[in-house]
């Protein structure tokens, strides 16, 4: 598809993921044993034939840069187009930091001006889903919409978490008649997935117009303000989609990967999810290993018990250790006879011999990066 380029927004600062997002942007949060959140939108774009992709970064973007590298895992290390990363920069006209999503794109307007694709797909780095964007573009062209927004029925996301989303109202034709960001009492269950398609030249116009008025946010200042003036259509997506907006959603999304249906749709599909490779050897199970209903990544060595959990790459579970209902991130060691239940251990954590940590299904206990307990 040489008709559409992609932009991924990763900038918004929030600490909804607590310790997990202290030192990394949400797009760089580890998911599902070997992925980072951004792998999903990026792979979706590549699998939909998009070959010209810009990533706009702002907060804590070092780990993201490190993860994306030259884009070779996504086949985006190209001479012609490929992957571009746009951290904020100082110029004669600006202070550097992006003031919002529209400002971030406006600050890199030349990226849009120099590209030659007819359409732009804007996505975010915080959501976990496997989606083909081509039918969405087809619908966009066929309806003659100014902007098409990917939407879905958000009933499978808790009311509390729905409050973080943009909720929409549609008329019979699927045109969006009302869009409310972070609404307290949404009138429908249809929510925006934060994925937009519009004509590239039209986006440039909108961005220039907003900038002239001192407006900086794509959703508040462009979509919401102009819901009545513009033909904004919803593209309904029926698949699995989870935004990593809270610790509860982060934990739940990871745990849902233990469900074969979710895993099949997200990870075992013909449209594969790509990620940075680490050259770890395959996982090794020793004699006392006892693993059930769990995901285990390469480089793990297991001698203990693991149930309903996800072990990311290079985790060591020593003899007598018992891990239940937990997410154990890369390179963490759980020593002999330690017990974990409902815990999220960040990278490089050590749980020393015999320690016992217990969280709750609604409030898993989080241990920050490189901490020794």
């Amino acid at each position: 598809m040489n008709t559409m380029m992609g932009v991924i927004l990763t900038g918004a600062k929030n600490n909804r993921l607590k310790e997990l997002s202290l030192e990394r942007s949400i797009a760089a949060v580890p998911v599902g044993g070997k992925y980072r959140a951004i792998d999903f939108v990026l792979s979706n774009m590549v699998n939909s034939g998009i070959r010209n992709i810009g990533v706009l970064t702002q907060y804590n973007y070092r780990s993201l840069m490190d993860h994306l590298g030259s884009g070779k895992e996504w086949d985006l290390d190209r001479k012609n187009k490929g992957l571009f990363i746009f951290p904020p920069y100082l110029s004669e006209y600006g202070t550097g930091w992006y003031k919002g999503s529209a400002d971030a794109m406006y600050s890199n307007l030349s990226f849009f001006q120099r590209s030659d694709e007819e359409y732009v797909l804007i996505g975010h780095g915080y959501a976990i889903y496997n989606m083909d964007f081509e039918p969405m573009l087809e619908q966009h062209i066929q309806t003659g919409a100014d902007i098409t927004i990917a939407c879905r029925d958000m009933s499978d996301i808790s009311a509390e978490d729905q409050k973080m989303l943009g909720m929409v109202e549609l008329n019979d034709e699927g045109r969006i008649t009302d869009f409310k960001e972070k609404s307290i009492n949404p009138k429908s269950n249809i929510g925006s997935m934060g994925v937009y398609i519009l004509r590239r030249t039209f986006l440039i116009e909108l961005l220039q117009d907003s900038a002239a008025k001192g407006l900086t946010d794509f959703v508040y200042d462009i979509i919401i303000r102009q819901t009545d003036n513009l033909k904004i259509y919803a593209y309904m997506f029926n698949g699995y989609w989870r935004p990593l907006n809270s610790i509860q959603l982060y934990y739940r999304t990871n745990m849902e990967l233990l469900n074969p249906k979710v895993r099949q749709e997200l990870l075992m599909d013909r449209r594969k999810i790509y990620t940075k490779v680490k050259d770890e050897p395959p996982a090794k199970y020793n004699e006392e290993a006892n693993v059930h209903n769990s995901i285990v990544a390469d480089g793990c060595i297991i001698e203990g018990t693991v149930e309903n959990s996800i072990l990311f790459r290079g985790v060591r579970v020593m003899k007598g250790a018992v891990i239940k209902n937990s997410l154990i991130l890369q390179g963490t060691t759980v020593e002999r006879n330690a017990q974990l239940n409902y815990c999220i251990l960040d990278k490089g954590v050590t749980i020393t011999e015999g320690k016992s940590l217990n969280g709750d299904v609604e409030w898993p206990l989080i241990v920050g990066k490189n901490v020794k307990v």
Partner: protein
Amino acid sequence: MIRKEIVALILAGGQGSRLGVLTQNVAKPAILYGGKYRIIDFTLSNCINSGIDTVGVLTQYQPLQLNSHIGIGKPWDLDRVNGGVTILAPYMKTEKGEWYSGTADAVYQNIHYVDEMSAKYVIILSGDHIYKMNYSHMLAFHKKNRADATISVINVPLEEASRYGIMNTHDDGRIYEFEEKPEKPKSTLASMGIYIFTWDVLREYLVNDHYKASSHHDFGKNIIPGMLADNRKLMAYKFEGYWRDVGTIRAYWQSNMDLIELIPEFNLFDPNWKIFTPNPVYPAHFVGDSGKIEKSIIAEGCMIYGTVRRSIIFPGVVINAGTVVEDSIIMSDSLIGSNTEIYTTIIGETSVIGNNVKCGVGEFAVNEYNPKVYDSGITVIGSNTVIPNNTVLGKNVVIDNYVTPHDFDTNNIPSGGYLIKGGDKK
């Protein structure tokens, strides 16, 4: 062109004929090993980990798999502007095309490759051994001794020494005699088929050897004895550590099984000596509620709902519920049905084993197809093969590659039996 101090040449043309159906469609260096790797990955990773960034891979037998595996050398960081990896296949000359007629001939035919790199030294490696070795230490040893050739040797038990090429050395490590498979070995230092030569010296010997009609054009048979006869300085470099030539089905199986020991002699987990290979795009593996895994290696993309004991499972394998796999090697993307029993069996890539199948059961019997190759009691099932539901296979059975259910005229192949497409007994 930046001058390269040392260039590596990997001899990867070997068929590995004693590996039977496993090497029918791939060269021995391309056989899967250890749950993720192909055998040549060890030599390639040794090169890059030793700082050698110019590597020629000499292919001949069934090179397709090997070529696509190596590609432009990305997984080993060998995609270089200067040097990198180059596949050196036999090619047409002005008058005629020639196959590589021996190890020395293979190098002779690629003299211009080494010349072009202006290399001072050349290291000749074999692509079908499992080991980790820092070649830069061996090169330092070669330079320190101002040797013409340095041969890496390993101590083998005296009773096995007659199976190897044995180096007889003085106390200082200088080789005075080389004996190929001696009946009465004088030493236990076996050649590992790893040679460092000072290029100018080797070049001269290769050219002379090329014109000798009686020569086998082989390093062990011709080049090394020739250098010794000329009183050249040949040094033995002692290697200590894990080194296996997995030339037989038993040795291949055993070397895989060595990896699942509690503290394996051969450690794949060393962060300072990683073994590189193309990474398949798979999610982390999943162990179901009914899954049970003991003392095994499980790769990415697997889904384990059955019981796995003492086995090596490659990427993308599915093992269904009620199934037991013991002491076996299952290669990439194979599917094992439910309520099936698999004991001491090697299963090739992308094969399907049906439900209620039994593999590797009964008493040992001599293989009727090729007792020289299939002598270990291990049942071997080729790649892309389908074993129908309710089939029983005994021990020491061999099933060909690309077998379909139509090829079976019985659902019971007792120990020592075989199913080879269009094949008669050997």
